[in-house]
């Protein structure tokens, strides 16, 4: 259990998860060496002069804001992109991978952020996809299962059987299967792109354990994450990228978090969260739930007042998102009472939710928030067009202003009518999602993981927005796995556990207290 709490401990760490210096002294020769790597897209350079060395038995963290070039660099290593300049050397010999497959067969495996599994096929079929063992021309199913079992056992993974359909596994187990798949290539280098992004907190431990085992087996790991805690928990070496430039590479112990963040953003870590306005007194109750529940959550009582930010904390899978879905009518409550501005309401569909001036910024903006092939403007108008068609044209005029107020660059705002949202950065995409709700002038806004996977600058814009909203009398319900965010932003913190509200804490509480409540340790 201490492991879980460790995740949320501020630096310095209680437990050193890094390599034991004696056992895993960096060998003098890197297994993978990048020199002067550069990459252009459409004439714009996104990577310039990158040097990187990966050593066996070491975890190398790659950090930077969104758009800094982390993913591109990973894809260069994985053989997805070919660099315009520079060299990649494997074991001292220059290599060029025409396809990701070539990289994999050379022992360079990559676990991408998007799930790369087939839900309708079994674990074994997924792991050995493309390399199914053959016996006399046909797939040797016995060996397929045996090999998978051996892999799972080696990595200490129990509870997953080779013949289980992947679609029936939990998200964390699926993530594990992805890593198992990478390991199965006898990978000497494994790159992981935000492997914990979609994991429940208790499941992160499983991943940590896996990373540690791999490292102990002498695998070089390139680890991309936005979570600073993870980086300090796992990494031996840290490399920072900014705007496609190589800013820094140093042993983890020699880079302080403050320096790390300021290198990434050019901004200090301190004062990152906007202050809570002292003079703001919560007004009347905007949203209230009494005894609400459905098949996923039950007995939910909560109140959010005008000008108040209430956080729903808890582990992933505890029911936080389900409460949001219940409020907004995606998976409506079947029990209990819900009132908006004192009026009892029935919200059975998102449409009714919008009509009651509720808003929900969903957790996964690409699959639930945006129509990626449409323009910024069309996306910003989605809700207006869907629910308030008569007022749509008039209210849509506010879109450029809203985008500007969210700190979106003037050129993007100007191109909003033509620019397809899929080409924007994660942070800007999130701002478009926020804009589509802001133009409806919601009275209650539910933010589900609003800062997940976006860069520090965009995060700050989201925090500022929350303060502006509350100042204007809206009620904010914040769902987040980032405890610092919860503690710093919320006026009150409701901790959810096993589909019920486990308790309430005031804003600014100690993170360990929140965690204790969330895990039931209290």
């Amino acid at each position: 259990m201490h492991l879980l709490l460790d995740n949320y401990q501020k630096i310095p760490r209680l437990v050193d998860m890094r390599a034991d210096d004696d056992a895993h002294a960096p060998s003098p020769d890197p297994v993978l060496r990048l020199r002067g790597v550069g990459k252009d897209f459409f004439g714009t350079s996104v990577l310039r002069e990158i040097d990187l060395d990966l050593y066996p038995g070491q975890v190398h963290a790659l950090v930077g804001e969104n758009g800094a070039g982390k993913s591109t660099l990973m894809k260069v290593i994985a053989g997805v992109h070919r660099p315009e300049t520079g060299t990649v050397e494997l074991d001292g010999a220059p290599v060029s991978f025409p396809t990701p497959l070539d990289a994999q067969h050379a022992g360079v495996a990559t676990v991408f952020q998007e799930f790369n599994l087939l839900p309708d096929r079994s674990v074994a079929e997924n792991v050995y996809l493309g390399r199914e063992p053959l016996r006399r021309g046909t797939v040797d199913r016995r060996r397929l299962h045996a090999d998978t079992t051996r892999l799972l056992d080696d990595l200490g993974l129990t509870g997953i059987t080779p013949w289980t359909r992947v679609g029936s596994l939990s998200v964390a187990q699926q993530q594990v299967v992805e890593i198992v798949k990478a390991v199965s290539y006898d990978a000497r280098i494994i790159s992981m792109d935000e492997p914990t992004a979609a994991l429940a907190d208790q499941e992160v431990a499983l991943l940590y354990e896996l990373v540690r085992r791999l490292r102990d087996r002498g695998v070089a790991i390139l680890y991309v994450s936005h979570r600073l805690q993870e980086i300090y928990d796992l990494a031996d070496t840290i490399t920072v990228l900014k705007d496609g430039n190589h800013m820094l590479t140093a042993p983890a112990g020699e880079v302080s978090p403050d320096r790390l963040v300021s290198t990434m953003v050019g901004r200090d870590f301190a004062g990152f969260f906007p202050d809570r306005p002292a003079d703001l007194v919560p007004g009347e109750v905007r949203l209230a739930l009494a005894g609400s529940g459905n098949t996923m959550v039950d007995g939910i009582d909560l109140e959010v007042r005008a000008g108040e930010i209430v956080a729903l904390a808890g582990l992933q899978g505890s029911g936080r998102t389900e409460i949001a879905h219940g409020v907004f009518g995606i998976a409506p409550f079947t029990r209990g009472r819900m009132t908006v501005d004192g009026q009892p309401v029935q919200v059975r569909t998102p449409r009714q939710g919008v009509r009651h001036r509720l808003a929900l910024v969903t957790e996964d903006r690409k699959s639930e928030g945006l129509a990626l092939g449409q323009t910024v403007l069309a996306n910003a108008r989605l809700v207006l067009d869907a629910v308030l068609p008569r007022a749509s044209d008039r209210r849509a005029r506010a879109v450029p202003g809203v985008l500007t107020s969210l700190d979106v660059a003037a050129s993007t705002v100007a191109a909003a009518r033509d620019a397809e949202v899929q080409y924007l950065s994660g942070g800007n995409q999130q701002k478009v999602v926020l804009a589509k709700w802001l133009v409806t002038e919601p009275r209650v806004i539910v933010l589900d993981e609003p800062t997940r996977g976006i860069d520090v600058g965009a995060k700050r814009a989201v925090y500022d927005l929350m303060r502006t909203l509350t100042a204007d009398g809206a009620a904010v319900l914040l769902i987040s796995s980032e405890l610092p965010e919860v503690v710093a932003m919320a006026d009150r913190i409701l901790v959810v556990r096993d589909g019920r509200i486990a308790g309430e804490l005031p804003g600014g509480s100690d993170e360990t207290a929140v965690m204790a409540l969330a895990t039931g340790a209290a």
């Binding site: 990701p100 497959l101 994999q104 067969h105 991408f112 998007e114 790369n116 599994l117 087939l118 839900p119 309708d120 096929r121 079929e125 996809l129 493309g130 390399r131 199914e132 053959l134 021309g137 046909t138 797939v139 199913r141 679609g167 029936s168 798949k181 529940g293 459905n294 098949t295 996923m296 959550v297 039950d298 007995g299 029911g319 079947t334 096993d498 589909g499 019920r500």
Partner: protein, 331 residues
């Protein structure tokens, strides 16, 4: 927690088949007939073989999230190529078979390359190749042509008991495709390509090749159907393309529980789907149902069956419920 046994789609297909057989059998019996009389059973089985070949091939491309609207034209083309090559000479039978299958494979290759290489939507690509073949057939052949030697006609007419040889061959092809899909790499990769193209590619599956292979095999199956046509007609006939085999085969595949959007399905289900259509045909025939009413019933049954499968896929049992409705027992 109670363990509920979940029926797979293939089981449902065969349950539906049994149900339809039962209902049809009773209806025919009420009218004083016997649906299971020899002539009706062999009628049923004969009807399965032609559509069976085409639908088995169609299963492969649908699994790959593609489809083939050119199969009807391929069947017609191969019946003519086969019959004209044989030209009534028993010693040229093998030549006719090889020529027909080679032409079929060629069409499949073009389909596959246009779809995977030129990235043309399969609907348009196969519609286009279908039109091209139609143009060729209409220009080159003015009607039935060629002659199939008597020996080869046995493929169309001989029966073992009530079971026509063509049905046996169809089942053998189905078995081969079953092995392909469940025991070979290309088969595994077809599921992968249909399930998620990017995943397949990143896993080292040569997606283009798999798609091309699926299309070649699909056309080959259609080619075998063309040979069956030639054997039964004693000649080749271009007008076979107007039988609606393209849409019928897709309907049979979907009726067999294969997902129209690829990645999930089975050839066993497809054979069941074809059998359902054949049982309906036979029952309609024996019951002397108006031919236009058959179309209406067919349409309704196809929609209803697929709606039934879709209903099951919506079954929220896969979502783990923490609280049952009404009860408040926390997990």
């Amino acid at each position: 927690m109670t363990r509920r046994y979940h029926l797979g789609s293939t089981e449902i297909v065969y349950l539906a088949l049994a149900g339809i057989l039962l209902v049809a059998g009773v209806l025919v019996a009420v009218r004083g007939g016997n649906l299971f009389a020899q002539q009706n059973v062999s009628y049923m089985l004969t009807q399965t073989s032609l559509l069976g070949f085409v639908a088995i091939g169609q299963t492969l491309v649908v699994l790959c999230r593609s489809l083939d609207l050119s199969v009807g034209y391929v069947v017609a083309l191969c019946s003519l190529v086969g019959a004209t090559t044989m030209a009534g000479d028993p010693s040229r039978v093998w030549l006719g078979v090889v020529a027909a299958l080679a032409v079929a494979a060629g069409v499949g290759l073009v389909n596959g390359l246009v779809i995977s290489g030129l990235r043309v939507n399969p609907f348009i690509a196969t519609l286009g190749t279908g039109l091209i073949i139609k143009g060729f057939l209409d220009t080159r052949f003015k009607g039935p042509e060629g002659e199939v030697p008597f020996g080869f006609q046995t493929f169309g007419y001989t029966r073992i008991g009530p079971v026509p040889v063509s049905t046996v061959v169809m089942l053998l092809v189905a078995a081969a495709v079953f092995v392909l899909l469940t025991r070979t790499r290309p088969g595994y990769h077809m599921f992968a390509v249909g399930g998620n193209l990017d995943v397949a590619r990143l896993s080292g599956v040569r997606t283009g090749r798999v798609l091309v292979l699926a299309h070649v095999l699909c056309s080959l199956c259609a080619g075998v159907a063309g040979l069956l046509i030639a054997a039964r007609f004693g000649t080749g006939n271009a007008l076979v393309y107007s039988y609606g085999l393209d849409l019928d085969s897709i309907a049979a595949v979907v009726l067999g529980g294969t997902l129209l959007f690829g990645g999930r399905g089975s050839v066993v289900g497809t054979v069941g789907g074809v059998a359902i259509l054949a049982v309906l045909d036979t029952a309609f025939n024996v019951l002397d149902v108006n031919p236009f009413f058959k179309d209406v019933l067919r349409g309704v049954i196809i929609i209803a069956a697929v709606a039934l499968y879709a209903r099951r896929q919506l079954d929220p049992a896969s979502r783990r419920a923490r609280f049952t409705t009404g009860g408040g027992d926390a997990a």
